[in-house]
Amino acid sequence: MNRSAHRSRRASAPLPRLLHAACAGLLLVLLAAPARGAETAVAFISGLGDTAIRELAPNDITPAQRETKFRELLHANFDMPRITRFVLGRYARRASDADLKAFQTLYEELAVLTYAQMFASYAGHVFKVTKQLGAPGDKYIMVVSELSEASGKLAARLDWQLLVDRDRYAVVDVRVEGVSMAIAQRDEFTAFLDKNGGNMAALLKELDRKVKKLRDGRAAAK
């Protein structure tokens, strides 16, 4: 019976860790200035992480400022068009350009409203890149990293899948304890579309409702 308790705890554990690490991951990338001159993918992620930790400590920015910064850096460092199409799964191919564009806007807004305000709790954390996996010339590189509390307790293992596109890196996925954000979100969005007969309008309406609700909730909390 006690093992069941244990199981229940572990079984549910990926979700919070997922969210935490998604925040941590995004934060690390978003707060970093463009790391020009980075020599390797390891240096790219490591530089972003160090900058993020350094800029994390001050908690004197407003929620709105944090969201604005988050949004800007999301655009600059993540390949959002590609991620957007991936998370729609097989429905991406059937969607019109207008729907894809509308979805991307709402999807980004949902990410901002979900994660931005959680970044403050990572103050004092230590980010360490372990290594990168991938051969020269590969389309993708995986960077393995760890986020730890100041006490040394491991908060999350983060794996970054980077796209090497022409002469740039872009983050396409963050895995938290092996749980891919992109796959988790694809599974969620496609489940919604499965239930609604593949109706993109229904998904856009639901996302719009969710975004408005989160925004109202944040405004009320101030």
């Binding site: 969210l19 790219f44 097989r90 304890e177 092996g178 969620e188 639901e206 969710k210």
Partner: protein, 282 residues
């Protein structure tokens, strides 16, 4: 006095859930791509699972979450940390058994080392001395052991009050309950009440530690059931590999994801903007 009825509670639930599931199966798609997706989700019992999931959600909102809020308000952070360490330490014997059954010698050594260190130097496990000495806690269970031995997961299951699982992991939990010396000792000495206290504190402490994060995820999710199912499937798969990717073993990482949706590959214009720092010549 041992209570055999309580031993494999989760295993019994697994069988019950399967029995209930007959007649509540999801429709199997015929389109090849949809069929592949259906197989990956591994959730033929989705209609029944969703009902149980909703029940669990209500149980959480009405019972567990309020308990967790109260627990966090009353018990100071340091005491909660001690409770968590103590409960983790009690799991060492069953973790060790599964380390050994999976042939993980180094992890078995870590488990023994942690248990001895924390029990003796850490006031019976209240202080995690071993972690500070560089041996972090790791988990292991019989569901993982079965997977390492080659057993497939069986259909995804949501069990009442227990949450996400599958047939293999549900059976594994039943076996863990049977072979766990600490669980046996608690039942012998303290009866069902002892087991119930351990179970309740463990669950409430976990919920309290993840209060905001679960609330936030639930709030921002458009299909919390699907998000939970995906995370469970991925996390279990990662645990079975024992997170060896952390040591840089490339075989332990799940394969890289291909991000191009085939029909859209031609749309290169979206990548014309600079995406990040320049890549050095290789």
């Amino acid at each position: 006095m041992r209570e055999p009825g309580a031993v494999g509670a989760r295993g019994v639930l697994t069988v019950l859930a399967l029995a209930l599931a007959l007649g509540a199966c999801a429709t199997r798609p015929t389109d090849p791509e949809e069929l592949a997706h259906y197989r990956e989700l591994n959730d033929p019992l989705e209609p029944m699972n969703r009902v149980i999931f909703q029940f669990n959600e209500v149980a959480d909102k009405v019972v567990l979450r309020p308990l967790a809020i109260g627990y966090r308000a009353i018990v100071p952070r340091g005491v909660r940390s001690g409770i968590r360490n103590f409960l983790n330490n009690l799991e060492a014997p069953v973790v060790l058994l599964n380390d050994l059954l999976q042939g993980e010698g180094l992890r078995a050594r870590d488990t023994v080392g942690r248990f001895m260190t924390n029990t003796i130097l850490g006031l019976g496990g209240v202080i995690d001395v071993a972690r500070d000495a560089g041996i972090p806690y790791h988990d292991e269970d019989f569901g993982q052991t079965l997977a390492v031995w080659g057993a497939g997961p069986g259909p995804y299951l949501v069990l009442p009050l227990y949450g996400p699982s599958n047939v293999r992991d549900g059976i594994g939990d039943g076996v863990d309950a049977l072979i766990d010396p600490v669980a046996l000792y608690i039942r012998e000495e303290y009866g069902l009440e002892g087991s119930a206290v351990r179970y309740t504190v463990d669950t409430v402490d976990w919920r309290a530690a993840n209060l905001e994060i679960i609330d936030d995820l639930r709030r921002s999710s458009i299909d919390f059931y699907a998000a939970t199912r995906s995370a469970y499937r991925q996390q279990r798969s990662n645990e079975i590999r024992n997170g060896r990717a952390a040591q840089g073993d490339p075989d332990a990482l799940p394969p890289m994801i291909e991000f191009d949706v085939p029909d859209n590959i031609g749309e290169r214009e979206t990548y014309d903007e600079p995406l990040g720092p320049p890549v050095p010549p290789r």
